[in-house]
């Protein structure tokens, strides 16, 4: 968890030489720099995407900036017009309900009741795909989608990024399709 390390380093004043970064910020940076070439032409069906802002990465981690990076990458990958944002969003987004150890703690009924707000919020977007950049969120969103009868596909960002990768100019798509 991003925050576990970030806050751990901070709170316990753990000495370190490295800089602690999120893969999401890097995706955005690499796309902006042209190090990663992506295009959304694969999405000819116009799959609609929405997103979950992980609390640990966004609100408790790097704030709105990383959440905006996340959206930037999704829009690049899926097409600007295929992104539907949620509300509340960014630093103010709801926790999915899987955080804080809830997935391990075992209070399944509570966890699902908690996740109802998240489910309603995501369902309201009508999106086909929900990007969950955090494993906890991923598991919880999968579960509530299933439990409450959602129709979307819950995935990490990298699967779609891989799909949209262009290698050696426009010649060949990188993914395994």
């Amino acid at each position: 968890m991003f925050y576990a390390t970030l806050e751990g380093l901070r709170r316990f004043k753990i000495p370190h030489k490295f800089e602690f970064v999120s893969i999401i910020s890097l995706y955005a940076q690499w796309i902006r720099e042209g190090r990663l070439n992506v295009d959304s032409s694969w999405n000819s069906d116009g799959l609609k995407f929405t997103v979950q802002d992980p609390c640990k990465l966004v609100r408790q981690g790097l704030g709105d900036a990383v959440a905006e990076d996340l959206r930037y990458v999704i829009k690049k990958v899926a097409g600007e017009e295929n992104f539907i944002d949620v509300w509340p969003r960014l630093s103010n987004n709801y926790c999915c309900g899987g955080g804080g150890g809830a997935l391990q703690a075992g209070f399944v009924e509570n966890r699902r009741k908690y996740g109802k707000l998240k489910f309603d919020q995501l369902a309201a977007t009508g999106a086909d795909v929900v990007i969950t950049p955090c494993h906890n969120c991923h598991t919880q969103v999968l579960d509530i989608c299933d439990f409450y009868g959602g129709k979307w596909k819950t995935t990490h960002l990298w699967n779609w990024l891989e799909k949209a990768l262009i290698i050696d100019g426009s010649a060949g798509r990188a993914g395994k399709d």
Binding site: W87, P88, L90, S91, N92
Partner: protein
Amino acid sequence: MSTPKGSVLIVGGGIAGVQAALDLADSGFYVHLVEKSSAIGGSMSQLDKTFPTNDCSACILSPKLVECGRHLNINLLTLSEVLSIEGEPGSFRVKVRENPRYVDVDKCIACGSCAEKCPKKVPNEFDLGLGKRKAIYLRYPQAVPLKYAIDPEHCIYLKKPGRCGFCEKVCPADAINFKDTAREHDLHVGSVILALGFRPFDPSRLDFTGYGQFKNVVTSMEFERLLSPSGPCLGHMERPSDHQEPRKIAWLQCIGSRDINKACHGYCSSVCCMYAIKQAVIAKEHSESGDVDATIFFMDMRTHGKGFEAYYNRARDEGIDFKRARVHTILPAANDNLKVRFAGEDGKIAEDEFDLVVLSVGLETDPQVMRLAHELGIELDSDSFAATSCFRPVETSRKGIFVCGALAEPKDIPQSVMEASAAALEAERILHPARWTETRKKEFPPERDVHAEPPRIGVFVCSCGINIASVVDVQAVTDYAWTLPGVVFAQNNLFTCSQDTINQMAEIIKRERLNRVVVASCTPRTHEPLFQETLREAGINKFLFEMANIRDQDSWVHQDEPDAATLKAKDLVRMAVAKVRGDEPLPYNSVPVTKSALVIGAGVAGLTAALSLADQGFPVTLVERKDRLGGHARKFFRTWQGQEVQSYLQELAGMVEANANIDVHLGTTVEDVSGSVGQFRTMLSDGTEVKHGAAIVAVGAESFKPRQGRWNYLYGKNPNVHTLLELDQRFIKDDPGLKGLNQAVFIHCVGSRVPERPYCSRVCCTHAIDQAIHLKEMNPDMDIFMLYRDIRTYGKREHLYQKARSLGIVFIRYDLDNLPRVSETSGRLVVEVKDPIIDAEVTLHPDLLILASAVRPRDDVGELSKLFKCAMTSDGFLLEAHMKLRPVDFATDGVYLAGLCHYPKPVEETIAQAKAAASRAGLVLSRDAVPAESITAVVNAQKCTGCSVCTKVCAYHAVNMDANSQKAVVDTGLCKGCGACVAGCRSDAITLKNLGNEQIMAAVEAAMEDF
């Protein structure tokens, strides 16, 4: 100090700056009023209605603005900013930059042709960007000065010379000046008043409000514009997304206030609860469907001002839904609606959907103002408001520079107006030796006696460029005027109000020996004083004048009917001629002034008022019913800021006793009052007769002692139950019995906000909390519980509430239908109360039970109000002339009020109000004579039957029955010329000068004549 300068700089042209300017200019000082925008009026001019009277804001403000704009001794510097202030009290050098307007104010006639032609549309900042204006614009329809200005940021010509320039081409008055440049003014003044106001908090940094995200989330200031008839939807309340009338509106309180997290504003903005209720009430009224659901989400309802609690109660009765809940996030719903999810006190979640959400945004200091304050060396407090102290409420950290209005703390309009007068007083106190040294006075030639002359009427018909002439055939009207009886001269002018025409008019009056004048042009509301002055310059009494409004009420409203408009113009001219024919010269009435004051009551208010006047050299008679000075304040421990009251009071009383100008009468009351402004005669109980020009009533109030009944709580029965003031006594004595206590309980609202005393006592929340803090600091281990209904620590006092909580003082809320219960078991107090959050009965065992009991009006205030012909509220407090704009004046001229007899208030507000009252009294005392109304009622004793209807309808007590003759007599000193008595008279025995029935009917009949 050598003789000080007799002029004052006022920075900020909102209601506070305008009030201070008028007070100073009318009492002998020259004023430079600097305003950043193109017109004065400030935030108040943007409001639709004002609480708690629901007065139309523009209606009550405009006359003050016009007065300010026309005042011979007020130099209005708009589009201007202060660059620097050097010097000291009595002599400051000020640099002011006046930015170019690009419109010549002497030429602009505000016809609006320029704006009509201007191709550049920009968001209108006056409407908070909800509507559009042009690059050449009038800030608002009633702007003062009523002159257009070019916005250089957006003007096409100024950006790219050679392009556009349409305004210059269409301007009929040749007023456009693209070459206008900024000017610097070096002013030399004796004192400075800062009235820079506030700006509304910008909620876009609180993302959870949805502001900027959802179209139908607006700020309260934006909502004012949506309600306003002069706003972007012309008063047809529309929501932004689809311009439909909203049916369900929510207000969210404390947006940007009482928030130390994202908003960084720990203070309460004081006004938002009331304005939200007002907006809800007005929205219901405005609605065309007549069907608006209004819900206000709040933390504590703060209706702590005069008439506020009643307003709140009425709003609840009218069905406005008050929900005690703070909402986390505004959510979107279908159809651009908004969903609100909130938790009740029981923790139950509810949801509701609204068409429109209004964010009740707080007040904050503009960063530009912060920079200016910094440059001027004015200290700001931690909330970025000008730092002041309770005993010096309008003094800044820099000597000779004063502050008023929201710059010092968020506050409402009456409080700002009070402080404005108080700040004016402080300036006068320094500068009084220089009174009338820099003011200008208009001199007029003696007036020709026209009584014996037959009417020789001159008619001036204005084209107003093309404003009138493009619709009305002005030549035909002029020709027609020549044919009317009594008319010996008629002329058409391009701009009758231009300086050259004015000069010419004076010449014509003399040359043609005119004795009556009619100007057919625009509205008398703005131009009558100008033309009347021209008559006086030509030696003619100014009341021999009439206007025919052929522009605002003719050419502008019948643009497509030139023939009908011309006919109507002829009618209007004929009506004016008929009316002016009967006009008589009227006296410029005045009453000589006895330059001394009577102050009744020697509490903090009375002492402060007496000193404020005596320091300016005015003799004061100070009357106190008790045998010592100090009043209610003798029982206070300290102010909410922690200053000790007793030492201050001793100092104040000492200064009064030592002041040779103050004659103190202790153990004395007022027995009888006669006379009117300038010339009062008052009999005191000690046999003294006092002659005085003005009076200040400051007789205080009492604290309610709940000896029996519902609010008793064992008061007077258990020795450990006290009122706030009784605990203060123990604090003053440093009572050792207060050490080592285990538990204290305070009960708020004891006898306030209850059916028999429905008002809020304003001071008790802060007072009780300060006492709790003092106790807690004495005994850190003790538990203190505050049982409250709403905490009303308005303004910066909110910090005290926060401090109390941070110290671990526990606040438990109760309702009127769930009162705390107090009992005794073997002498030990037991208090039971229900905590609504955890839904549990809590039993407490205090060593001390403190009752925050009401402040109640004194029973004898009624007598005094009758003597001075002043009104009272239903709560028993004295009633000022106008709740909003005349907070220290009585309807009776020359009588003012201050302190607790007006309404419960803390010492800092009492001091400000007392100084304000002194400033207002100074308006009378600084003159040899005060003007009186010329158009007054006259009684024809022959016709009078003595029925006394006229005395009953007169709101000013100006008509009385003569005891001997049993006929009505009018006191012209009191008469305001409204004519209510004339209309009420059954026997046609009373008339109004120049507005008699015959004269009005002459105009009416003239309207009906055929020609």
